[in-house]
C-alpha cells in the first residue's frame, strides 16, 4: 500500500513538473539561452517591398558575444556599404567617399538602408532582461506572450510584446512600440530550424507600421554558430577595408 501511494505521489510530482507553467524568469532564461553565442555569422537576403517595387540586397552579418555587429552589404544597390554597431554608436562606411560617419543614440531607430528594419533590429545584444521589465501577459497553447517595458528612455523601443514559441523559445511574433504605446513595427518569424543546438527563424517579415504599405523580408541563407571572429573585425579600420 505504501509503495502504491509513493508511486502515485512520484507520478503526480513528475506530471506536475512537466505540465506546470514556466515562470517569467524561466521563459526569459530559455529565450536568452537560445540567443547566447560566442559569435555568429549569417548570410541573408533582404527583400524590400515598397511603393517603388521590390529591391533585393544580400548582407553578411557578423556578431560577437557582447553584441558588436558588422553588417556588410554584399550585393544590391548599396553594395560595398558597411555598418558597424559598437555599444550605442553606429559607424557607417560609404565606399564612394571612403568615409566613416559616426551616429549616436537616436539613429539606432532609423531605417536600415531603406528597409522596414531599424539598425537596432539588426544589431546589438539581443538579450532583453537587462533592458526591460518583463511580465507574462498570457499563456497560449503553443506560446507565451511577454510584455516588455523599457527600464530607461534610451532604449529604442519603450514597449514590446513578444510571442515566444513554447517548444523552441524563438520569438515568432513581436509588436515593437514607442513611448506612448503606439505600435511602430511588427515582426513575424517562421521556418524555424535547429542549427548546432540553437533554433533560428529562417524567415522574418518586418513591417514598419508608420508606412502606408510594404514590408521587408529577411531570409537567412547561411548560419555559422560560434566561428572564430577576430576582435579587429569590429574596428573602424576594418570598416574601410
Amino acid at each position: 500500500m505504501k509503495k502504491k501511494i509513493f508511486t502515485i505521489i512520484i507520478t503526480l510530482v513528475v506530471s506536475f513538473s512537466i505540465f506546470a507553467s514556466l515562470s517569467v524568469d524561466e521563459i526569459v532564461d530559455k529565450y536568452e539561452a537560445n540567443q547566447k553565442f560566442e559569435s555568429l555569422v549569417t548570410e541573408a537576403k533582404i527583400e524590400i517591398t515598397d511603393r517603388l517595387g521590390v529591391s533585393i540586397q544580400n548582407v553578411l552579418v557578423s556578431k560577437n558575444k557582447v553584441g558588436d555587429t558588422l553588417i556588410e552589404i554584399t550585393s544590391g544597390p548599396d553594395r560595398g556599404q558597411k555598418v558597424l554597431r559598437r555599444d550605442e554608436s553606429i559607424y557607417l562606411y560609404y565606399p564612394d567617399a571612403d568615409q566613416v560617419i559616426r551616429l549616436q543614440g537616436t539613429a539606432l531607430k532609423d531605417s536600415f538602408m531603406g528597409s522596414d528594419f531599424s539598425y537596432e533590429d539588426l544589431s546589438g545584444d539581443d538579450t532583453i532582461r537587462g533592458s526591460y521589465d518583463i511580465e507574462l501577459k498570457e499563456e497560449l497553447d503553443s506560446s507565451y506572450v511577454l510584455s516588455l517595458t523599457a527600464k530607461t528612455r534610451q532604449i529604442a523601443y519603450q514597449k514590446e510584446e513578444l510571442i515566444i514559441d513554447k517548444k523552441t523559445f524563438v520569438c515568432t511574433k513581436a509588436i515593437l512600440m514607442g513611448t506612448n504605446g503606439r505600435a511602430l513595427r511588427s515582426m513575424e518569424s517562421s521556418d524555424i530550424k535547429e542549427i548546432n543546438g540553437y533554433y533560428f527563424a529562417m524567415k522574418t517579415v518586418m513591417t514598419d507600421l508608420l508606412k502606408k504599405e510594404g514590408n521587408t523580408v529577411f531570409e537567412l541563407e547561411e548560419v555559422e554558430v560560434n566561428p572564430f571572429l577576430s576582435p579587429s573585425l569590429f574596428t573602424k579600420e576594418n570598416l574601410s577595408w
Partner: protein, 312 residues
C-alpha cells in the same frame, strides 16, 4: 600626359590581374543629368551637364582593389578623370592587421562634409603609398591606437613629394570617441601639424585643426555638429581660415515615405546663399532632385537633377 596614361594602363592591368579578370570584379556606378536655370544681373540663362561614374572593385580577406573613373560633359567642356585606382594588402599582426595601400585615392583623415581642417588634401585624389599599423589594442576596454603614415611619390606631373603620419587613439567612449594627432611634411620642408577630436555631447561632433609649425598665422579650424531626430536631421559646419569664418547650416526632413525636403544656409564674408531642395525616388535607383538657390545679390539658380545608380 603620356606618362599619366601609361601609369593608368599599368594600374588597370594590375587590378584586372589581381581580380582574376573582369568576371570576378564587381561593377557599379552612377549616371546623372542636370539642368540649371540661372538668373544673374536681370537675365535668365540655361546650362546643362551630364556625368558618369564607373566603379570596379575586387575584395578578398587579404587584397582589395578599387578603380573609379569619372566622366563629366557640359556644354563647354569635357572632362574625364581616373579618381581612384588603388590596391590594398593586409597582413595579420597579432589579432589585427597591418594594411598597405598603393595607388591613387583620397586621404581619409579628419571628418566633415564641406570643410575638413583635419585633412590637408580634403576632397583631393593623390597617388599614395601608405601603411596603417596597429600599435596598441585593448578591445575589452575599447582602447585602440593606430599609426598611419603616407608618402606621395611624384609619379604624375601634377604631384609633388610629400609625406606624413597620424596617430589615432580610439577610446570608444560616448563623450570622446577618438582623438587624432599628426602632421604633413611638404616639399619645401614646411611641417603642418594636425589634430582632431570626435565624440558626442548631445550632438555628434568633430573638431579639427591644422597649422604650420613655423608660421602660426596659417592656422585653420573646422568643426561640425550633427544630430538625427527621426525624420529630421540637422548639421552645422564651420571653418576658420585666413581670418575668414564660413558657416553652413543644413537641415533635412522626410515628408511622408519618400519625399525629402532640405534647407541649406551658407554664411561667409565673401558671399552667402540660402537653398531649398526637394528629392524624390521615382523608381528603384532613380532619384529626382530640385534645388532653388538665392544669393545675397538676389541672383537665383534652379537646378533640376536626375541621378541613376547601378550595381552588378
Amino acid at each position: 600626359m603620356v606618362r599619366e596614361r601609361k601609369l593608368i594602363f599599368i594600374i588597370v592591368l594590375l587590378l584586372i590581374s589581381i581580380g582574376g579578370g573582369f568576371c570576378s570584379m564587381n561593377l557599379s556606378g552612377k549616371e546623372g543629368l542636370s539642368l540649371s536655370e540661372i538668373y544673374y544681373n536681370g537675365n535668365w540663362s540655361t546650362t546643362s551637364d551630364a556625368n558618369l561614374t564607373f566603379n570596379l572593385d575586387y575584395n578578398t580577406a587579404g587584397v582589395k582593389s578599387y578603380f573609379q573613373y569619372d566622366l563629366s560633359i557640359s556644354e563647354k567642356e569635357y572632362e574625364d578623370n581616373l579618381s581612384k585606382a588603388y590596391i590594398k594588402f593586409r597582413l595579420p599582426f597579432g589579432e589585427n592587421y597591418i594594411t598597405f595601400n598603393a595607388g591613387k585615392t583620397n586621404l581619409s583623415w579628419g571628418g566633415g562634409f564641406a570643410f575638413n581642417a583635419g585633412n590637408p588634401y580634403f576632397n583631393k585624389y593623390l597617388t599614395i603609398l601608405s601603411a596603417y599599423i596597429p600599435l596598441s589594442l585593448n578591445f575589452d576596454n575599447g582602447h585602440l591606437i593606430y599609426f598611419e603614415s603616407f608618402v606621395t611619390p611624384p609619379l604624375l606631373k601634377s604631384e609633388t613629394f610629400t609625406g606624413g603620419g597620424r596617430m589615432i587613439f580610439e577610446f570608444g567612449k560616448v563623450l570622446v570617441d577618438s582623438f587624432e594627432i599628426g602632421g604633413v611634411l611638404g616639399e619645401t620642408g614646411d611641417f603642418t601639424f594636425y589634430g582632431g577630436l570626435n565624440g558626442n555631447l548631445y550632438f555628434d561632433y568633430g573638431l579639427y585643426t591644422n597649422f604650420s609649425l613655423f608660421s602660426f598665422e596659417d592656422v585653420e579650424f573646422s568643426g561640425y555638429v550633427l544630430k538625427y531626430f527621426g525624420k529630421f536631421n540637422f548639421m552645422a559646419e564651420g571653418n576658420y581660415e585666413n581670418d575668414l569664418i564660413s558657416l553652413i547650416l543644413t537641415g533635412g526632413y522626410q515628408i511622408g515615405e519618400k519625399l525629402g525636403l532640405s534647407c541649406e544656409v551658407f554664411l561667409a564674408k565673401v558671399g552667402s546663399y540660402t537653398a531649398l531642395g526637394l528629392s524624390y525616388p521615382i523608381i528603384q535607383g532613380l532619384n529626382a532632385k530640385v534645388k532653388l538657390m538665392r544669393d545675397t545679390l538676389n541672383n537665383y539658380t534652379v537646378v533640376f537633377n536626375l541621378e541613376h545608380s547601378f550595381s552588378q
